[in-house]
C-alpha cells in the first residue's frame, strides 16, 4: 500500500528495501550500523590505552617462569599467563596499543601524502598527472609484502620502521582514490568559479577540493585501518614487525603457534582481538561508504 501511494519516492530510490515502508526503520538500522562498530572501536581504544592502568594489570614483559602457563581465571591473571609467565590480558592490551598506533599513523601518513599526490595529479592533469600516476603504478605493481619485508630488514624491526614500511604501501592506494574523486569534481561550477576568480592552485586544492574529497578519503582510511592492522600482524608474525619481547597481536599469534596443540588459547585470544578490531573498522567503513554512495 505505502509503496503504491508514493510512486515518486520509489522511482527516485530504486534500491529501496523493505524497511523504507516503515518510517524511520532504515534510519534506525543505519544508525545502529554506525554506532555499533564505532562504539566497539572506542571501547577497544579505551581498553588498550587506559585499561592496563585502570585494571592495575602486571607488566606485559619480564614475567617469572614460575608463573608460566597459568590457566585462565587464575588470581591476578584473568586470561592466564603465557610460557614466559607474562599476563596474557596485559599483553593483549599492550599489543593492541602498538597495532592501533601503527595503523592510525600509517593511515594519517597515507591520507596526507597520498591524498595530496592524488589530488594534485587529478587537478593538474597533463604531464604532472602522468608522472605521478606512473610512479604510483610501479609502487602498486611492486609486491607490497616484499617492500615492507625489505624495509623492515633494512632498518631493523621497530615501531617506527614498521610505520615507514607500511606507509609506502598505503600511499598509492589513497592517491588513486583522491585522484578519481578530484576528476569527478573538476567539471563542477564551484571549481570553474574558483578558477575564474584567479584563485591560486594551492588554495583551490586545500580550500575547495580537500573538504569535498575528505569524506571519501576518510571512509577509505577506515577500511585501510583493518588492512594495516592485518599486515602489521603479518610482519610481526614473521618477526619483522615489533621486536620480540614487546607484545603485538601478530607476534603473540606467532609465539602461540609453537604450542598450538597444547595451549590453543595463546593463539585464540590475540586472534579474537584482531578479528574484533578489524571487523569493527570494516563495518564502520562499509557503513560510511554506503552513506556516501547512496546520496
Amino acid at each position: 500500500m505505502a509503496v503504491a501511494d508514493t510512486p515518486l519516492q520509489v522511482a527516485e530510490n530504486p534500491a529501496a528495501d523493505q524497511d523504507d515502508a516503515v518510517p524511520g526503520g532504515r534510519r534506525w538500522r543505519g544508525q545502529l550500523g554506525l554506532w555499533l562498530p564505532g562504539g566497539a572501536i572506542v571501547l577497544i581504544v579505551v581498553a588498550c590505552f587506559l585499561g592496563p592502568a585502570l585494571l592495575g594489570l602486571p607488566k606485559p614483559v619480564g614475567g617469572s617462569v614460575l608463573e608460566s602457563y597459568l590457566p585462565a581465571g587464575s588470581p591476578g591473571h584473568l586470561l592466564g599467563t603465557d610460557p614466559n609467565g607474562n599476563d596474557i590480558l596485559s599483553r593483549l592490551l599492550h599489543g593492541g596499543r602498538a597495532s592501533l598506533f601503527i595503523a592510525a599513523t600509517v593511515n594519517i601518513v597515507g591520507l596526507v601524502v597520498g591524498g595530496t599526490l592524488g589530488a594534485l595529479s587529478g587537478y593538474a592533469g597533463g604531464a604532472v598527472d602522468t608522472v605521478i600516476m606512473r610512479i604510483l603504478d610501479v609502487l602498486i605493481a611492486f609486491p607490497s609484502l616484499v617492500l615492507t619485508l625489505a624495509v623492515a630488514q633494512a632498518l631493523g624491526p621497530s615501531i617506527r620502521n614498521t610505520i615507514l614500511a607500511l606507509a609506502f604501501f598505503s600511499i598509492p592506494a589513497v592517491a588513486r582514490v583522491a585522484r578519481s574523486a578530484v576528476l569527478r569534481l573538476r567539471g563542477q561550477p564551484f571549481m570553474a568559479a574558483a578558477e575564474l576568480c584567479g584563485t591560486p592552485a594551492w588554495r583551490v586544492l586545500f580550500k575547495h577540493l580537500a573538504p569535498n574529497i575528505a569524506p571519501q578519503l576518510i571512509t577509505f582510511a577506515m577500511l585501510g585501518m583493518g588492512i594495516v592492522i592485518i599486515i602489521e600482524g603479518a610482519l610481526s608474525f614473521l618477526g619483522l614487525g615489533i621486536p620480540a619481547p614487546a607484545p603485538s597481536w601478530g607476534n603473540m599469534v606467532a609465539d602461540g603457534q609453537l604450542s598450538l596443540s597444547a595451549t590453543p588459547m595463546l593463539v585464540v585470544w590475540p586472534s579474537l582481538a584482531l578479528l574484533l578490531t578489524v571487523l569493527s573498522f570494516n563495518l564502520l567503513g562499509e557503513n560510511l561508504r554506503s552513506r556516501w554512495s547512496g546520496r
Binding site: G233, A234, P264
Partner: protein
C-alpha cells in the same frame, strides 16, 4: 549517399580491407599492444626499485656466507667473486642484460641457477594459488546468485554476514584456526609439510587443502560480496532486465542469462587484479605450512641477503600481476563486442 560518409570501423567486414589489416587494425589488438607497451616501463620501474631497496639493506651475501668472524680480506675477496663490489648502476645494467636473455643469474648462497630454483618452486605456489582460485570461485558464484535472487532475503543476509566476517580474518589467523580444527583436533589432515604431485594426487592434495583454504576462504567472501552487489545493481537499474522481465522471462533466467553475463565482466576484472596481491600473500601461508614455494624462497632469500633470488621473485610476482591484467583486457575484448569492434 557515398560510402565515405559512413563511419569507418576498423576491423569491419569491408571487402576492400585486407585480412592482415583487419587483424592488425583491430581495436582489441591495439588495446593489448598499448597495454604491453605500458607494462615495459612498469616492469623496469619495479626492477629498479627492487635493486634500490635491496641496496639499502645493510650487510651482503658475502658477509652472511662467511659469518661474523670472517676477516675483512676474505669478505672483500668473496664480494669481488660474486660481483658485489661493483656500483649499483653497473650491476643493474648487467643484470637487466642477462635477464632479457632469460638468464636470471645464480643464487649467491647456493650457486644454483635461479631458473632451476624457480622450476622447483613455481609449481608449488602455482598449485596453491590455482586451488584457492578454483575453490573460491566455485563457491562464490552459486552463493552470490542465490543471495542476489532475493535481495535482503534469508540467504542474502546469511551470506553477507559470513562474508563480512570472513573478510575481517587475517589469513595467518585463519590458517592457524584451520590447523587447530582439522589437524590438531580432528587429525584429518597434516598440519605442515608438502608432498609433491608425483607421489600421488591424494597425498599431494592432503597437504594442499588447508593452505589453499586459508587463502581461498577470504577470496570467496570477497568475490561473493562483489558479485552479489553487482548482480543486484544490474537487476535494479538496467533496462535490459526490465525488458526481459516484461517479456515474461523467469526470475532465474533473468539472473543467469542476463544479469550474470554482464556481472561476469566485473568479476573477471577483480579476479585479475587480485592475482597480483594474492601471490604476495602466499609468502606467509607457505611459511606457516612449510610449503617449498616461491614465497618461502623469497623469505629465505631476504634473510640470507641472496639478492639475486629476491630480484627474481619480485620480477615473477610483478610479471604475474601485469600479465593477469593483460589477460583481463583480452577476455574483455573477446567477450564484449563493443570493445571488439571499438565502438567505445
Amino acid at each position: 549517399m557515398t560510402t565515405a560518409a559512413l563511419p569507418r570501423v576498423p576491423g569491419d567486414r569491408d571487402p576492400r580491407v585486407s585480412p592482415l589489416r583487419r587483424v592488425t587494425g583491430s581495436p582489441a589488438l591495439r588495446l593489448v599492444g598499448k597495454r604491453l607497451l605500458m607494462a615495459i616501463p612498469i616492469m623496469l620501474g619495479v626492477t629498479i626499485l627492487t635493486f634500490w631497496v635491496l641496496s639499502l639493506i645493510p650487510g651482503n651475501a658475502a658477509q652472511q656466507l662467511l659469518g661474523a668472524e670472517a676477516s675483512p680480506e676474505d669478505v672483500a675477496q668473496l664480494e669481488e667473486q660474486l660481483g658485489l663490489n661493483e656500483s649499483g648502476v653497473s650491476r643493474y645494467l648487467s643484470w637487466l642484460g642477462n635477464a632479457l636473455h632469460g638468464d636470471l643469474g645464480n643464487s649467491l648462497v647456493s650457486r644454483q641457477p635461479v631458473s632451476e630454483i624457480l622450476a622447483d618452486r613455481l609449481p608449488v605456489t602455482g598449485e596453491l594459488v590455482l586451488l584457492a582460485f578454483v575453490v573460491s570461485l566455485l563457491l562464490a558464484i552459486p552463493v552470490a546468485l542465490l543471495a542476489a535472487h532475493k535481495p535482503n532475503g534469508l540467504m542474502d543476509r546469511i551470506s553477507m554476514m559470513i562474508s563480512t566476517l570472513g573478510l575481517s580474518v587475517a589469513n595467518y589467523v585463519l590458517a592457524l584456526l584451520l590447523v587447530l580444527v582439522f589437524a590438531v583436533t580432528l587429525g584429518w589432515l597434516p598440519a605442515i609439510g608438502y608432498v609433491p604431485l608425483s607421489d600421488g594426487l591424494w597425498a599431494n592434495l592432503k597437504t594442499m587443502i588447508l593452505p589453499s583454504a586459508a587463502i581461498g576462504l577470504p577470496l570467496f567472501c570477497f568475490y561473493t560480496r562483489f558479485l552479489r552487489g553487482d548482480l543486484v545493481d544490474q537487476l535494479q537499474q538496467e533496462e535490459y532486465v526490465t525488458t526481459a522481465r516484461a517479456k515474461g522471462v523467469g526470475s532465474w533466467q533473468v539472473l543467469l542469462r542476463h544479469a550474470f553475463r554482464n556481472s561476469s565482466f566485473g568479476l573477471i576484472t577483480v579476479v585479475g587484479l587480485n592475482l597480483g596481491a594474492l601471490i604476495g600473500g602466499t609468502v606467509i601461508i607457505e611459511q606457516i605450512f612449510a610449503l617449498p614455494g616461491v614465497g618461502q624462497m623469497l623469505l629465505q632469500a631476504i634473510n640470507t641477503r641472496d639478492f639475486v633470488v629476491v630480484q627474481a621473485a619480485v620480477v615473477i610476482f610483478a610479471l604475474v600481476a601485469v600479465l593477469a591484467n593483460l589477460v583481463v583486457d583480452l577476455m574483455y575484448a573477446v567477450l564484449d563486442p563493443r570493445i571488439r569492434y571499438g565502438s567505445r
